[in-house]
């Protein structure tokens, strides 16, 4: 009965605190929606959004055409050959990239195919001469012996100065792939042609240029949802839901300080055993609030975000593990709120410390950006953040479809954190009581 009375009292106080309710329920909804929308584009960058590339084909021959075709078929680039209705030239392309209108420009020099063919023919002639074949073609051999191989084709790649190194290297390597393939195909074609001429066979051999070795990318987990890690919804919904849960430090600490300031905490100290019962009541209510918050965020991810053009949140299938993870996360968040509310004496101190500390713990815990994209030192630091344990545990449930045992380490860490926080807050309250 005492416990129920305590629960009822906490409910009434919470329901009448409009600002507290807004912090608890409305702010996280906006956070999830806004962050998912903002981070949608970066997440899609290399996946769905094609990179626009200004293409200047001064070659107008096979090499220029093959590279253009390769770029178009890559699925990564969208090839643009006109700027404001005018064909791309070296000049207007340089200008557009320098202005930041485009992040990338490619210029294929004039006569690139001819130069490439000549160079390849020289190499083939040199090779055949090495085998004592084709020596009759003395002109070609002489040419081959000359220093002509120093002629090279310079394909120019123009980058926006603001483009990141990772972007530059991924573009360069994609382009390098097309060029190497074209060069190889040309060499095989000429080699076969020259070999035919040297052996007196008129008919040219059919050359298979399909790659012998290919790469196949698969997820370590065969689950369908394993691919979802790369979308903003799948990262932001659990991440910001955890952030919102820990943000209850503000209304919870505020409620505790208010109780002390209003004197109701003092009256509770006069009633034998009521202080602890009131504590249990407060814990129960705020844990329930966290659970409601979390599942509200999930519903937003599943039903509201798709209406804004985002991917629907995949909730997974392991509901018991999910419930356990969310429950321990709620305990940890509530424990943290209790500790802050017990340590600080004024609203101002508690609000400032509470909000800043949660933002810092969220940042190092991988809420703002996933831990795996952080520098090494930050990745090492992330292990101290309870938000990181919570996010890792939830990702285990949502993405890695782990079994029950997979979440145990994070569940234990979060539960331990809760116990430590409550013990600290009881200690601080005792110190305050007898001050």
């Amino acid at each position: 009965m005492r416990f129920l009375a305590s629960i009822k009292k906490e409910c009434l106080i919470l329901l009448r605190d409009k600002a507290g309710l807004a912090i608890l329920f409305i702010m996280p909804l906006f956070l999830i929606t806004i962050m998912s929308l903002i981070q949608d584009a970066p997440f899609k960058d290399y996946k769905e959004n094609k990179i626009p590339v200004l293409y200047v084909n001064n070659d107008n021959d096979s090499l220029g055409n093959i590279i253009e075709k390769g770029l178009r078929n890559s699925g990564i680039f969208s090839v643009i050959t006109e700027i404001d209705g005018k064909a791309t030239t070296a000049e207007n392309t340089k200008q557009a990239v320098a202005n930041g209108d485009f992040r990338l420009g490619i210029i294929i020099p004039e006569g690139a195919t001819k130069t490439m063919n000549k160079s390849v023919e020289n190499r083939v002639a040199k090779m055949l001469a090495g085998f004592g074949m084709g020596e009759k073609d003395s002109t070609l051999l002489d040419y081959a012996r000359s220093d002509s191989e120093k002629q090279s084709i310079e394909i120019i790649i123009l980058f926006d100065p603001a483009a990141k190194i990772a972007f530059r290297s991924s573009v360069s390597s994609a382009l390098d792939k097309f060029i190497t393939r074209t060069e190889m195909e040309t060499m095989l074609r000429i080699f076969s042609q020259k070999l035919g001429e040297a052996s007196g066979i008129k008919e040219q051999a059919v050359i298979e240029t399909r790659p012998l070795i290919t790469l196949k990318e698969i997820q370590a987990n065969e689950s369908k949802v394993a691919e979802l890690l790369t979308n903003s919804v799948q990262h932001n919904v659990p991440a910001w839901a955890i952030f919102a849960m820990f943000y209850i430090v503000i209304p919870l600490a505020s409620s505790m300080i208010k109780e002390r300031e209003e004197g109701s905490a003092l009256r509770l100290l006069l009633i034998p055993g009521s202080h602890m019962i009131s504590l249990y009541g407060k814990i129960s209510i705020y844990v329930a609030v966290c659970l409601i918050q979390f599942f509200m965020m999930m519903l937003v991810g599943v039903y509201i975000l798709p209406l804004l053009g985002l991917t629907a949140f995949e909730i997974g299938t392991n509901f018991i593990a999910l419930l356990l993870m969310v429950f321990t996360c709620a305990l940890a968040a509530t424990g943290y709120g209790f500790m802050v509310g017990s340590v600080f004496s004024s609203h101002h101190q508690a609000m400032t410390f509470g909000s800043v500390s949660v933002v810092i713990l969220a940042a190092i815990g991988g809420v703002l950006v996933p831990v795996y994209v952080m520098p090494g030192i930050m990745q090492s630091l992330s292990v101290v953040s309870p938000l990181s344990w919570a996010l890792n545990g939830l990702n285990n449930v949502f993405l890695r479809q782990t079994n029950f045992a997979g979440i145990v380490p994070d569940v234990l860490k979060l539960s331990g954190f809760f116990v430590v926080m409550i013990l600290l807050s009881v200690k601080f309250n005792q110190m305050k009581k007898y001050k």
Binding site: M1, A5, L12, D17, E262, G263, R267, L268, K433, Y434
Partner: protein, 248 residues
Amino acid sequence: MPVAISIENLVHRYNDAEQVAVNDISLEIKEGEIFGLLGPNGAGKTTTISILSGFLKPTQGKISIHGFDVMEQSDESKKVIGVVPQEISLYPTLTAKENLDFFGSMYGISKNELNEKINHYLNLFGLENTGNKRVEQFSGGMKRRLNLIASLLHDPKILILDEPTASVDVQSRNLIIEFLRELNKKGTTILYTSHYLEEAETLCTEIAIIDDGKIIIQGSPKQIIGSQPGFDNLESIFLKLTGKKLRD
């Protein structure tokens, strides 16, 4: 008469304070008394009451309430006392009834008994029509009355009041004083602090004036007035004994 509250050689020094707040106080309050603990600001009244209520650990000394050691048998001693703190100790966003319902439930009073008591006291203190109003909307006098009711729900044998009539209008003060008299007649021991000396003179059966943490005079109002020739009221004796220097 049996002893309700016994204080022996009580000393309390706040952290890092140069002076002691309570300096070797010893007194006995007998059952059925209305005991007035009077003194200027900073004299040590609230510190003494805080130690009696179990909020503060004394630096030295022993206190027992109805035979229960306040520090060792804190829960037992808390059960027999009702404390009306100087500050309003209620939830402002809850209604009067919700506050009383919560604090009464915390004392473990059954639902029916509690409802009866709540209605009885709200009627007695003229709050019957405002029971469903939030405390934050109450006047100062209404809050004081409700603050008193919240300390009475568990029928304490001893009622400790720290300036219960501070900042209230004459009507509310009169109602509170009359109620305390009635309560005392029914057997409740009352320990009370106040700056209203005339009120204390008429209400209390025993008075102790305290200054700089020490009791400087103790006795019934008549005895105290009689012990100071040339003075015919408590206020003039109080000023004579504690001086006219302003206190913080």
